[in-house]
């Protein structure tokens, strides 16, 4: 009896055929997923990725110790999968679609293995175990990379949101305005204080108007952050006028016994601007009165 091939040899010998079956499986397996795959990447791209992975896997299957993903034979497959997985995460594939790419190779390979090794059940079992372990581990790598990449995307997004949401606007010589929009949590408050102080220094402001119209809720934590912003501004010699506290927020702050009496506050931004201008000795008057 001739010695049966290993899964690595099978993969090497019949790679072209296996590739075709694999692509068919990818196409048929997840109905909606396949359609999305069609939508998000071309057939040619998919084929190139699959071909590259098949090459890398041929090498991986030949590894002596197939449980050790750190072995050099696995490196091309691991690196390639990380790359594929990361690019899919960024393209907007969902985790199932991403992982099913490598998982679908299982059913393709199985067809060939069952045909090739049908004479020897023991051999089939051994090679199947090996194939399963390797592909499962690689699927795990796919998941991990997918999650890491998505997390990176989220971090990037929140960072750009943070930058977007704290502009300092020069209102007049010596007066800056900072409209606050959204939730003020610890990282956000640090960003607010940093931008505010930078704005005060850059524009040599004597007054900063801090408008909280867009802040959904003022609790003691938010109040504390605002008090710190005011204290820090005062150290730079700038007075802060807090505007835009809603009637609901005012009543809530009173119940919380948050003391904002040390701050200049006013309900409307309009009045805040008026007060800010009066601090620097300016006023807005109508043309008639000025003449």
């Amino acid at each position: 009896m001739t010695k049966l091939m290993t899964v690595a040899e099978l993969m090497k010998e019949k790679q072209a055929e296996i590739l075709e079956v694999w692509l068919e499986v990818i196409d048929s397996e997840t109905g909606a997923g396949a359609r999305r795959t069609d939508l998000l990447m071309s057939k040619a791209e998919l084929r190139t990725e699959a071909k590259g992975l098949a090459d890398a896997l041929t090498l991986a299957f030949a590894a002596e110790d197939y449980t050790d993903l750190a072995a050099p034979q696995f490196q091309p497959a691991v690196l390639l999968l990380r790359e594929i997985s990361a690019s899919r995460a960024r393209q907007g594939f969902n985790p199932t679609e991403t992982a099913s790419f490598v998982m679908s190779l299982k059913s393709a390979l199985l067809q060939f293995m069952q045909q090739e090794f049908k004479g020897d059940q023991q051999h089939l079992n051994n090679e199947m175990t090996k194939m399963n372990v390797i592909i499962d581990r690689l699927a795990m790598v796919t998941f991990e990379t997918y999650a890491i990449t998505r997390e990176e995307v989220i971090t990037e997004q929140s960072r750009s949101l943070l930058e977007m949401s704290t502009p300092v606007i020069k209102l007049w010589d010596g007066v800056v305005l900072m409209p606050l929009v959204g939730v003020i949590d610890t990282p956000r408050s640090q960003q607010i204080i940093a931008s505010l102080l930078k704005g005060i220094v850059d524009y040599q402001a004597q007054v900063a108007v801090l408008d909280v119209t867009g802040v959904p809720m003022m609790d003691t934590k938010v109040a504390q952050h605002l008090i710190s912003a005011v204290d820090a501004s005062r150290m730079l010699g700038a007075e802060v006028v807090l505007t835009g506290i809603s009637a609901d927020a005012a009543q809530t702050l009173v119940r919380l016994s948050v003391d904002l009496s040390g701050m200049r506050t006013s309900g409307l931004l309009k009045n805040g601007i008026k007060e800010a201008l009066s601090i620097i000795g300016m006023a807005i008057t109508s043309k008639d009165r000025a003449s």
Binding site: T186, D219, R255, S257
Partner: protein, 160 residues
């Protein structure tokens, strides 16, 4: 249904049953529970001001869970419907260090971590009922309730 009196809790399925217990283990969870509180109060037909009170109280409690414990805690939302009274119950629970001196913690200006120290006393003033139990080393449990006023009960919910 203007003028109709709410005798039962509206759609208890929606806000109160499904995610009625939310974890607070990260700072952004504070916003999640706050928004959930607003959904609940909107469903009950609470006035804007009362909803603001409840949401702020929830936010205070959630901040406490996050800033005073190492593992965070959870906040449970319950719809109350007892003897013609409708309201919301908020239970904040943690397995944190506990509060050694509850009376001191309830005093405004008392803080162990440099905060304003108005949180717990504030929650009591924002809500209608307030219960606290705490064992050092075991954890803290705070129950706060806010009832709908007669006016809110009779009012059409959609008018808010």
């Amino acid at each position: 249904m203007a003028g109709a009196k709410l005798t039962t809790c509206p759609d208890p399925e929606d806000c109160f049953r499904r995610p009625s217990c939310l974890p607070v283990t990260d700072e952004h969870h504070v916003q999640i529970v706050r928004r959930h509180a607003l959904q609940c109060t909107a469903q009950l037909g609470m006035s804007r001001l009362s909803s603001h009170y409840v949401a702020t109280a929830v936010s205070e409690l959630a901040n406490n869970l996050f800033f005073h414990t190492s593992n965070g805690g959870e906040i449970r939302f319950c719809c109350l419907d007892k003897a013609g009274r409708v309201g919301i119950e908020i239970i904040a629970q943690d397995e944190g260090p506990g509060i050694v001196d509850i009376a001191a913690a309830m005093t405004d200006g008392f803080s162990t971590n440099g905060g304003l120290g108005a949180g717990l006393g504030g929650v009591r003033r924002l809500m209608d009922e307030f219960e606290i139990s705490s064992k050092p080393g075991i954890g803290t449990r705070i129950i706060a309730r806010k009832w709908l006023t007669e006016a809110e009960l009779c009012c059409d919910r959609k008018s808010h």
